[in-house]
Symmetry: C2
Subunit: 128 residues, 2 copies
Amino acid sequence: MTNRVRRTMPLLPISIVMQLTELTARQIRYYEEHKLISPARTEGNKRMFSLNDVDALLEIKDYLDQGLNIAGIKKLYDLKETPKNEKAEPKSLSDSELRKLLHEELKHQARPFEKGGFRQGDLSRFFN
Amino acid sequence: MTNRVRRTMPLLPISIVMQLTELTARQIRYYEEHKLISPARTEGNKRMFSLNDVDALLEIKDYLDQGLNIAGIKKLYDLKETPKNEKAEPKSLSDSELRKLLHEELKHQARPFEKGGFRQGDLSRFFN
DNA sequence: TTCACATGTTAGAAAACATAACATTTCGTT
DNA sequence: AACGAAATGTTATGTTTTCTAACATGTGAA
């Protein structure tokens, strides 16, 4: 009975994701357009979302509520994806550029990091 | 991260359920027509399935594979739903009638009960 | 063979979703 | 105050998905 769902499996149509996240279709598509999520597509080109996608959307929503903008969230994700390149080759954006960007966003009230990682989006708001 | 999904929440469109169960839309609708499942409906009348519905469909599929027919499966469910009425009022079908029906179906190779209950349909075939 | 059950197939209508364009709101900046 | 950019709303139009209903087919039991 206690199934750990394969959270990457594309199962949910956008209508359900709208309910789960309280986001509009417009918002969800906009976030995809800006590469914050990449939901799967059916053969007929309809978006199908995984539980991970829903978590990501909830996280995005939180960050936006905290005053971050799309670009800022994107940067956070880019950082998150390359945590091991401590002395690696320079990215497309210089470190100073990146820091400047983050600073701009974070001066409002957001605190992007908690020591050790990000707050995970949590579907348990809806499931139990 | 370990979310216990609310398994009764209608989340899945029929196309996904078809993939998960390897049943055709025709089959799924037929089982509903015969009251083996009762998926939710959207405002626009589209079926939306819960994880429990998927489990039920997998169970139905198993029973059919074992030689039961729809009527037999229905009886099993009806029995399952009233386990406490040991001396209750007679149902719409008499006990003998019911036993006869079951016997008819089960003489093939099916064994409807395992001691203590039914085999639960298990979504872990697809999730982990 | 015949009949009933389970499923396949097709047609036509409606719902859901897609993209794209333009409008609106909200803020920070000038 | 006006401007410009970001995020979202709104509308139009086309395609995909799902619906019901009807009829066809395959298969096993009588």
